[in-house]
Amino acid sequence: MPTMNIIQAVNDALRLEMRRDPDVVVLGEDVGKFGGVFRATQGLYDEFGADRVMDTPLAEGGIIGTAVGMALYGLRPVPEIQFADFIYPAFDQIVNEVAKYRYRSGGQYACPMVIRTPYGGGIKGGHYHSQSPETHFVHTAGLKVVVPSNPYDAKGMLISAIRDPDPVLFFEPKRVYRAAKGEVPEGEYQVPIGKAKVTREGSALTLVAWGSMWHEVEQAAREAEAEGIDCEVIDLRSLQPLDTDTLVQSVKKTGRAIVVHEAPRTCGFGAELAAILQEKCFLHLEAPITRVTGFDTPFPYTLENEYLPRAPRVLKAIREVVSY
């Protein structure tokens, strides 16, 4: 099996899907000949031509707005937003149009599309090349929201997303774009949307994370193991739909849970998970469900390591939760 990083896996999925289905088109800023600022669309322009890999003017609202029209008309657009931080000019189109089209037309129309966008900090990107805006979209009914943490899932989930009848926000963890490498099968395969994955089994507590924070959580779990604490780790992968069963099963077993995300804490997705878990596991809980997250500030530049909920902060929380 070839070894790939996440960019290569995304690129591979796009290529396979474009070969399979002539309706799949890619559009966005710099995605054409240049192959995207992170090179995720590299080579697609050469293989599929300028009519399927389209550089757009610099206007995210236009990218998503035209993708809506394309989807209504029968294409399967995969728009790229260059950085998740620049998704906001398209927020109106995504929240008011993409998300509601099926519902407001009584199911007559739909706009299936996959909005790919690199998200997250840790690359010295400051305010505008670091944000994790997933919660805004999970909060919007009608959108599916997925965040792979590794190349295998990135490829399999992107293929599933492109074939999904609903619009999918596909957040790519750019901090580990190249660093996260792994074996990826050749050819097409799907990783289902809506299924979390238990990546480490343990009994002391449950750690929940997605995207690049999964790597921090995994490291914290390794360090905790050395101290004799065996953590269970869940890679959530899909935030909407949410795999409540896997979460509840794990927390009922361990009685303790820590949710880790790099978005700010207040109204972050961790708040929703904590609410669900206390509703469904109340009598099994042995400690408060804890959040280790980014702070309620804009994403900083110099102090980004302090801001990010990396392994040392997760480890501290693990110690506190097991000795509660």
Binding site: D55, G126, Y128, R310
Partner: protein, 399 residues
Amino acid sequence: MRREHEVGAVPRRQRGNHREWEPGRFVKEFPLYRLVAEDGELVGPPDEVTLSDAEVLKLYELMVLNRALDERMITLQRQGRIGFYIGSIGEEASILGSAAAMDEQDWIFPCYREHGAALMRGMPLVTFLCELFGNAGDAMKGRQMPCHEAWRPGRFTSISSPISTQISHAVGAAWAARLKGDPMVAITYFGEGGTSAHDFHTGLNFAAVRKLPVVFICRNNGWAISVPRERQTGSETIAQKAIAYGMRGERVDGNDLLAVHAATRRARARAAAGEGPTLIECVTYRVEGHSTSDDPRAYRPAELVEPWKQKDPLLRMRRFLARRGALDDAADERIRAGVREELQRVLKEAEAFAPKPPLESLFEDVYAEPTPLLREQLAELEAAVAADPRVANPRHSDA
């Protein structure tokens, strides 16, 4: 075949008021305004020149500083001493010529290449360099990526990465000045890529509706990262877009310092006189990559760039000044040596600051006063750093 009466028998002359599409029409309607030719000769009407030779010389010195700064910082980035840099190599005349044409009370709403204008407005070089390092001397407290400075004493507003958001801010400031009766004219900068963003439309529309005192400077440098100008707009020129909004448009040789200055000066005068905003297209070229993050060889043939290197705005002003007897080779070398020395000295000064701003600065300025939750989070972070110094250390655990 349908007959006339079947479609409503509209009298012929009312049937449409479109003008036939003639390719090249707008290039003719908006001829490139130029005062100084590439060889340094004054080719425009002398009475349109708005700068004395002494003033040109001062601006030339600033251009030399701006260029040296950009070159040095690109090197620093390659050495890993700063994280990122985005400069204005080849676009200095567009930026400095226009900024210099504004009056002291005027506000500048920059894009991300106008560092020379910040320096012109009195931002100390050391403060600019500290911003690049994001260190304890950074007036922005290490919060933004390099090249996102703000300098309030010089009425130079805060740079944001999201494209074109500053355009409507400039319009709002001009509107406020009008309401307060202040003689302030706002100037704002953006790239030709930025004309595709919604704030370009919104800003120009609002400004024209109210005839607000704004000068819009589009640095048309041909490229938005890898996307060439013709993929950005179907218009032949950027300047012609002004017509649709109901304002003046001008197309200027953006590598001609004198032309940019004169055109901006006129636009400012009209704005101040209540005659409304102007869109100025400075035709220039991005001779380098977009920033230190990209390599233009992946999308742009080198042959395209060569002719523009000959049109270098510094070279042109040097030739102009030489022809006027205001600058000889020895004096030019003195300017360059002076700039090199200054950069070296100030760089040392900037690097002497502590590499990080204090921990509590992370939680300041989110609001005028930190909220109770933010205070709690600061305490949490301090405890975490005390418990494990790795919390504050570079990343250690990528997959």
